[in-house]
Amino acid sequence: MAVPRRSKPTLLLLLLLSLFASSSLAIATGNGGGYSINGRVKIPGFGAKGFGLPVKANNAKVILNGGQQVTFLKPDGYFSFHNVPAGTHLIEVVVIGYFFSPVRVDVSARNPGKIQAALTETRRGLNELVLEPLKEQQYYEIREPFNIMSIVKSPMGLMIGFMVVVVFLMPKLVENMDPEEIRKAQEEMRNQGVPSLANLMPGAGAGGGRSN
C-alpha cells in the first residue's frame, strides 16, 4: 500500500510495452535433471484501468502443484519454474481480485521442448502458456444507492403505507358499499366462525398419518 509514486509510471510503461510486444515462448527446455516451464500472466486492462492495479498484481503468485514451487511475476508478467520433472503438472495463478483457472501442463520426457497446456476449468487448450483471468472478482456487495422505494419497502415503510390505506381508503370503500352487502358479509363471517390453525396446516397432521 505504501508505494512511492515515482515508481509507478515506469512500471506501467513496461507493462504497456509488454502488451504490444509479440513474443515466442520457449516453454520447456531440457536442463540437467529437470525441465523449465516458462509462461506469462496477462491481465487485460492492466495499463488502462488506472493506478490501483499494479499494486494488486504486485502480490501475484504462480504456484506449481499446490505449493511445491512458488514464483512471482516479473514486471512484464513472465514467470518460470525450473528443475521440473517430466510429467503432468498443475499451475495456479493467485491474484487478489481475479479468478484464474488452474492450468494443466504436460512436460514430455521423450521430446523435450514440447509441452501441452490446457485450462482445467474450461478444458480449453493453450498454444502458448499465456494465462489470463477468466473473470474479475468483486468481494463486496454493492450498496444500492438511496431510493424512496427502499424506504417504502422496509417494514416501517410498509407499516406507514398500510396505515395510510386503512385510514384514508377504507372509509371511502365502506362509504361506497351498499349497506345491504355489508350486512350480508358480516353475517357470513359470523356463520363461518374463527378459522382454526389446524385448517391452515393440513400438511402436518395428514402427513404424519400417511407415513405410517
Binding site: 508505494v3 515515482r6 504456484i63 511445491q68 488452474p102 463486496y140
Partner: protein, 982 residues
C-alpha cells in the same frame, strides 16, 4: 389453497436464500466485526537502507520464508512477500541501491526485488552439481563493462550474475576440484575474487578469479592433517582463522605472495579454564575475531606479526552484532548484555576496543526473554558524530528498534508462528454501573443513530460519513473486557513456536497479555517446543470465583521420547499457576476426557511413547473419577510409517496411582505395498449436534449415524504419495475409510481410482468432506460421505418425533453394531486447499458452512448444501421444496462468500471455529503468517437485528404513527361534532 400458499412461501424462502450468498459484506463494513493482522516471523537477516533522502527502511528475511521491507520509523510493513514453503531464504542484500537481492532454495534461486514497491525485477535459476552452502556477495562499487556483477557460490559453482537484469556472466565449477568454498572475498578496487575453501577437510585452498570472465588467476593450497571444524573466517585481507577438527586449536592462515602459512594456537592458551564447544563467531571485524565457548566469549586481536592477543572476555550470554563500516575506515559493532528486566547495549569501535563508544540501558519486558540477534546501523547526528540504532530479535521472536536508549517500536512477530489455539470466556460484568455513564452512553447512542439515519437518507456531509464510519469501527462495546450477551467477546489464547502464550481480544485483536512460558524455554542444554494447548478449567457453576485456565503441553528435546513439560496458565492474567514439568514421561498424544472434578478441572490423559497413559490433574479425586470411568476410555494411535491403526483401552492393573498401562484392543494393518496413510481426521470433541433425525422430502425421516468415535483415514498407493506430476493415473489409488475407534470396525470404505493426495478433510455430525486430486480429470475434487443409521430407519413417525415419543433417546453406542448406510457424491473444486474446517454453533441448529482455506490464502465459505450427496440432476418438486440444489459437476466459487474478502491470510495453516452464544453465529479465526478473525452467520442472523438496523428510523415511524393517530382522532371528533350539529 393453504398448501399452495405454504409451498410458494417455502419456494420464496429458498429462492431468496439461493440468490444472495449468505456471507456477504459491503465494503464499508470491513473492520466492523473482523480484523486482520500482518506479521513476518522471526527475523534471520536484516539489511538497512538509510539514505539521506527518502524513506528509511530495513529489509528483512525471516524463518517463515518472508522477505519484507519495514518502515524504520514505525516498524510498519511497506511490502512483503511470502516465498514457498521449500524456498528458504539463505541470504539477503541490496544491489545498485535500488534492488533487494535474495538468494533462496539452498542457493539455487536468485531474485531481485524493486526496493520501493517490492515488485520482482528479475529471477535467475542457478543450477549446481552438488549440494553446498550458499554464499552471496554483492560488491558495492565494482564495475565490469557498465555492469555490476553479483557473485553467488552455490551447488559447488561460483556464478557471476548481472545485477541489472539477472543474466549469467560466467560460471566457474569448483565441484571438479571437490573443494568446498567457505568465503568469497572481494578486496576493494581490485578485479579479483578470492574464493577460500577446504578440500576433503584437510587442505586449505585459495583461488583468485578474474571478475571479468571467471578465469582462474592463481591457486594456492596448504594441507593440515588435523582437519577443520566449521567455517573458515576472514580476519583481514590475507588472514583467515578456523578451528581444527578437535575444536581445541585455532589455526591462523596467512596467504602471502602465493605461499600459505599456517600457525596453530591452542584455545586453552587463549582462554584459561574450560573451553568446551568452542566456535568462532562470524562477525566480520577487521583484525579481530571472536571465540565463544561454554563459559565466555573472547575477542582476539591478530597483530601484524601474526600474534594472537586476547583483548576482552565477556559473558557467554552477550550477543554480538556484525561489524558496521563507518565513514573513515572505522568499524563499529554492538554488544548486548542481558540484565534483569533491562538490557545493556554498548557500541564499540574496532580501533578503540578498550572503551565503549556508546552505552545505553534499555528497560525490557522480561516476557520477551533473551536477546537472540542484533543488527546495528548508524546515522550522522547534527554535530557530525555517529548515532546508532539497533534492531534486536528477542527470544519470543519479537522485533524491536532501539535508538537513544529508547524502544522506538516493537513488533510481536511471534504471532506469525501459531501452533495451537483455544478460547476463554471473559469475566462477567460487575453490576452497579453509574447513572451518569448510562445517560452519557444513551445520548451517544442516540446521536450515533441520528447520524446513521442521515447517512441512509443521503443527507450526511462527507465529514459526517467519516464520523459514522469511525463510530462503527470504534464501538467501545466490542472491545470491553467483560462477557457480552451474544458471546462475541472472548479471549483467543494462542501458543506460538517460541513457547510464548498470547491472549488476543476478539473485538479488535489487541494483545491482552502475553507470557513466555518458563517451562518451555529453550536452554543451551535442551530445545523445548510447545505442542498442544487445552482448556484446563472452565468455571461454570461450582468454581465461579476461579479464573479459567489453560493447559500447555510441550516437549523438551527433539525426539518423541523426550520428557514433556506441562504448565497451567491463568487465562485472565497470563500468570503461570502451576509448572508441572519437566515430567518424567514423554507425550505423543493429549486426550481431553469428558470428565471434570469438583473444581471443574478437566481430566486429561497424556499418552507417552511407551503407550502408557498418564492422568492429570494428579489428585486423588481425579484418580477416583477416572477409576470409575476407566472402562469407557478408549483412544487410538496412527502409525503412519508402519501403516497401522491401533485402538487402546486402559488396563485394570495400573503401575502407579496416576499412570496406567494400555491394552491393545484392535489394530488395522494397511498393506504397505499398496496403501500409505496420508491423512486422519476426527470430529471436534466439543461439537454439538442438535438432532439425529433429518426430515427429507415426502415427510420421510433419515437418522444420522452420530458417533464421537469415528475417524476418517485416507491412504494412497505409495507411488502416488509424492507431489502432483510424479505418478500416472494408473498407479495411483486413493482409499478412504470411516473407522469406529472403539471397536476398530470399518464402517465404510471407498476407492477413488486415479486420485492422489494431498487430502484435506473435515468430519462433522454424520458427514465427512474431503479434498483430493483427480489425476484423470487433472482437477481437484471434493467428495462427501454421509453415514446414516439404518437400525432406526423404520421409526418414521414425524408426529411421534415432534411429541418426543421416539427411540432417539436410546443412546448411541459403539458396542452395538447398527446397520449403517452411506451416501456419497463428488464434485470438482477449482483450487488447491491448505486447510478445511466447518462452522460450529452453540446448539448445532444453524446450517453449516465449510470453511476452505485456498491456495491463494483466502478463506471461502461454502454452504454445506452444495456438498449434499442427495443432490440430483433433476430434483423433484418435493426435493426442491426441501432446499436440495440441482447437481452440478463443480462447486461454485462466489467471490462474495470469501470470509476474508479482499484480505489474504498469508501462509495460511489453520482455521479455527468457535461457537458464539448467539445460535446463528460462529466465530472464525484463521492463522498463518497473518491472523484473521471474523464472525459468520451461515443462515444469516435470524436471531438478532443486523448491525445496520436503523433504530432512528423505527423511532421516527413510531412517532409518525402516534401523530397520525392524534390527527385522525381530532379529525373524527370534528366530524362527529359536525354530524351531531346536522
Amino acid at each position: 389453497m393453504a398448501m399452495a400458499i405454504k409451498l410458494s412461501l417455502i419456494l420464496l424462502l429458498c429462492l431468496s436464500s439461493l440468490l444472495a450468498p449468505s456471507f456477504s459484506l459491503f465494503e464499508d463494513q470491513v473492520g466492523l466485526m473482523d480484523w486482520h493482522q500482518r506479521y513476518i516471523g522471526k527475523v534471520k537477516h536484516a539489511v538497512f537502507h538509510t539514505q539521506k533522502a527518502g524513506r528509511k527502511r530495513v529489509l528483512v528475511s525471516t524463518e517463515e520464508n518472508v522477505i519484507a521491507s519495514l518502515d524504520l520509523r514505525r516498524g510498519e510493513i511497506f511490502w512483503r512477500h511470502v516465498l514457498g514453503p521449500n524456498d528458504v531464504v539463505d541470504k539477503i542484500d541490496i544491489a545498485l541501491g535500488k534492488y533487494v537481492i535474495t538468494l533462496s532454495s539452498e542457493g539455487s534461486i536468485l531474485r531481485a526485488w524493486n526496493l520501493p514497491d517490492g515488485q520482482m525485477v528479475w529471477e535467475s535459476f542457478l543450477s549446481g552439481s552438488k549440494y553446498s552452502k550458499a554464499l552471496l556477495t554483492v560488491p558495492s562499487n565494482l564495475k565490469v563493462d557498465l555492469d555490476s556483477p553479483i557473485f553467488v557460490y552455490s551447488g559447488g559453482c561460483l556464478h557471476a550474475i548481472s545485477s541489472i537484469d539477472g543474466e549469467y556472466l560466467w560460471k566457474k565449477d569448483f565441484a571438479i576440484e571437490s573443494v568446498d568454498v567457505h568465503q568469497l572475498i572481494l578486496s576493494g578496487g581490485s578485479d579479483v575474487v578470492h574464493a577460500v575453501g577446504v578440500t576433503d577437510s584437510s587442505q586449505f585452498d585459495t583461488y583468485e578469479i578474474d571478475v571479468k570472465n571467471g578465469g582462474l588467476l592463481k591457486h594456492t593450497s596448504a594441507s593440515f592433517p588435523g582437519g577443520v571444524y566449521g567455517e573458515i573466517l576472514p580476519v583481514s585481507g590475507d588472514r583467515f582463522v578456523v578451528l581444527d577438527a578437535s575444536r581445541s586449536v585455532v589455526l591462523l592462515i596467512t596467504v602471502n605472495n602465493g605461499a600459505t602459512h599456517l600457525q596453530q594456537t591452542h584455545v586453552s592458551d587463549l582462554i584459561h579454564g574450560s573451553s568446551e564447544n568452542t566456535v568462532i563467531l562470524p562477525s566480520k571485524l577487521s583484525g579481530i575475531f571472536s571465540l565463544r565457548t561454554d563459559s565466555c566469549i573472547v575477542f582476539v586481536k591478530v597483530t601484524d606479526e601474526g600474534k594472537l592477543n586476547v583483548m576482552e572476555k565477556v559473558d557467554k550470554t552477550v550477543v554480538v552484532s556484525d561489524a558496521l563500516a563507518l565513514s573513515e575506515g572505522e568499524q563499529a559493532f554492538a554488544l548486548v548484555q542481558q540484565g534483569d528486566s533491562k538490557i545493556e547495549l554498548s557500541v564499540r569501535l574496532v580501533h578503540d576496543m578498550s572503551s565503549n563508544h556508546l552505552k545505553e540501558t534499555v528497560k525490557m519486558d522480561h516476557e520477551r526473554g533473551f536477546v537472540h540477534k542484533i543488527f546495528i546501523n548508524n546515522y550522522v547526528r547534527t554535530d557530525r558524530s555517529h548515532g546508532f540504532r539497533a534492531l534486536i530479535v528477542m527470544e519470543d521472536h519479537s522485533l524491536l528498534l532501539l535508538q537513544q536508549g529508547e524502544i522506538v517500536w516493537t513488533r510481536d512477530d511471534g504471532l506469525a508462528s501459531v501452533i495451537d489455539v483455544t478460547t476463554s470466556e471473559l469475566p462477567v460484568e460487575k453490576i452497579g454501573v453509574s447513572v451518569a455513564k448510562v445517560e452519557h452512553s444513551l445520548f451517544e447512542w442516540l446521536k450515533g443513530h441520528m447520524l446513521k439515519l442521515k447517512g441512509t437518507l443521503m443527507l450526511a456531509t462527507p465529514d459526517e460519513v467519516a464520523a459514522i464510519q469511525q463510530i462503527r469501527l470504534q464501538s467501545s462495546q466490542k472491545n470491553k473486557m467483560t462477557r457480552d450477551h451474544n458471546g462475541f467477546r472472548k479471549l483467543l489464547i494462542l501458543l506460538t513456536r517460541a513457547g510464548k502464550l498470547y491472549a488476543l481480544h476478539t473485538g479488535n485483536g489487541r494483545v491482552v497479555w502475553s507470557t513466555l512460558l518458563q517451562s518451555l524455554r529453550t536452554t543451551s542444554q535442551q530445545q523445548c517446543a510447545g505442542l498442544k494447548l487445552r482448556q484446563w478449567q472452565v468455571p461454570h457453576h461450582h468454581a465461579l470465583d476461579n479464573n479459567p485456565s489453560v493447559l500447555v503441553v510441550g516437549r523438551c528435546g527433539l525426539s518423541l521420547t523426550s520428557p514433556s513439560a506441562l504448565s497451567i496458565v491463568d487465562a485472565y492474567t497470563g500468570k503461570e499457576l502451576q509448572n508441572l514439568g519437566p515430567a518424567e514421561h514423554s507425550t505423543v498424544q493429549v486426550i481431553t476426557l469428558p470428565f471434570r472434578d469438583s473444581t471443574e478441572q478437566q481430566l486429561h490423559l497424556l499418552i507417552d511413547a511407551d503407550k502408557r497413559a498418564h492422568l492429570y490433574p494428579t489428585t486423588p479425586e481425579a484418580a477416583s473419577i477416572f477409576q470409575r470411568e476407566s472402562e469407557n476410555v478408549y483412544w487410538y494411535s496412527v502409525e503412519s510409517e508402519a501403516g497401522i491403526l491401533r485402538g487402546y483401552g486402559v488396563k485394570k492393573t495400573h503401575s502407579s496411582e496416576y499412570s496406567f498401562e494400555a491394552r491393545n484392543l484392535w489394530s488395522i494393518v494397511f498393506p504397505a505395498e499398496s496403501e500409505k496413510i496420508i491423512a486422519t481426521v476426527t470430529r471436534k470433541p466439543n461439537e454439538v449436534v442438535h438432532t439425529q433425525a433429518k426430515v427429507i422430502a415426502d415427510e420421510d425421516v433419515m437418522y444420522k449415524y452420530i458417533s464421537k468415535n469415528m475417524v476418517f483415514v485416507a491412504t494412497v498407493s505409495p507411488k502416488a504419495s509424492g507431489p502432483i506430476g510424479s505418478a500416472t493415473p494408473d498407479e495411483s489409488v486413493l482409499v478412504v475409510y470411516l473407522i469406529d475407534t472403539v471397536t476398530g470396525r470399518i464402517l465404510h470404505r471407498m476407492t477413488h481410482l486415479g486420485s492422489q493426495g494431498p487430502v484435506h478433510a473435515v468430519l462433522s455430525e454424520n458427514w465427512v468432506v474431503y479434498h483430493y486430486f483427480n489425476l484423470r480429470a487433472h482437477r481437484y475434487e471434493m467428495s462427501v460421505i454421509e453415514i446414516y443409521d439404518q437400525s432406526r430407519a423404520e421409526n418414521k413417525d414425524v408426529l411421534k418425533l415432534i411429541v418426543g415419543k421416539h427411540n432417539l433417546t436410546t443412546p448411541v453406542s459403539s458396542y452395538s453394531r447398527p446397520e449403517v448406510t452411506t451416501k456419497s457424491q463428488s464434485y470438482f473444486f477449482t483450487h488447491s486447499v491448505k486447510a478445511i474446517s466447518v462452522s460450529s454453533t452453540a446448539k448445532g441448529i444453524t446450517s453449516k458452512h465449510l470453511l476452505i482455506g485456498t491456495i491463494g490464502d483466502q478463506v471461502l465459505a461454502l454452504d454445506k448444501r452444495f456438498v449434499d450427496p442427495r443432490r440430483s440432476l433433476n430434483p423433484t418438486q418435493a426435493e426442491k421444496e426441501e432446499g436440495l440444489l440441482p447437481l452440478t459437476d463443480a462447486l461454485p466459487i462466489i467471490p462474495q462468500s470469501y470470509v476474508t474478502h479482499a484480505f489474504k491470510v498469508e501462509g495460511l495453516r489453520g482455521i479455527e471455529t468457535i461457537p458464539a452464544k448467539l445460535e446463528s453465529t460462529s466465530l472464525v479465526f484463521a492463522y498463518g503468517v497473518d491472523l484473521f478473525y471474523t464472525r459468520i452467520a451461515p443462515s444469516k442472523t435470524y436471531d438478532s437485528l443486523t448491525e445496520d438496523f436503523n433504530y432512528a428510523l423505527l423511532l421516527l415511524t413510531i412517532v409518525a404513527l402516534v401523530i397520525a393517530i392524534f390527527v385522525t382522532w381530532v379529525l373524527s371528533e370534528r366530524k362527529d361534532l359536525q354530524d351531531k350539529w346536522r
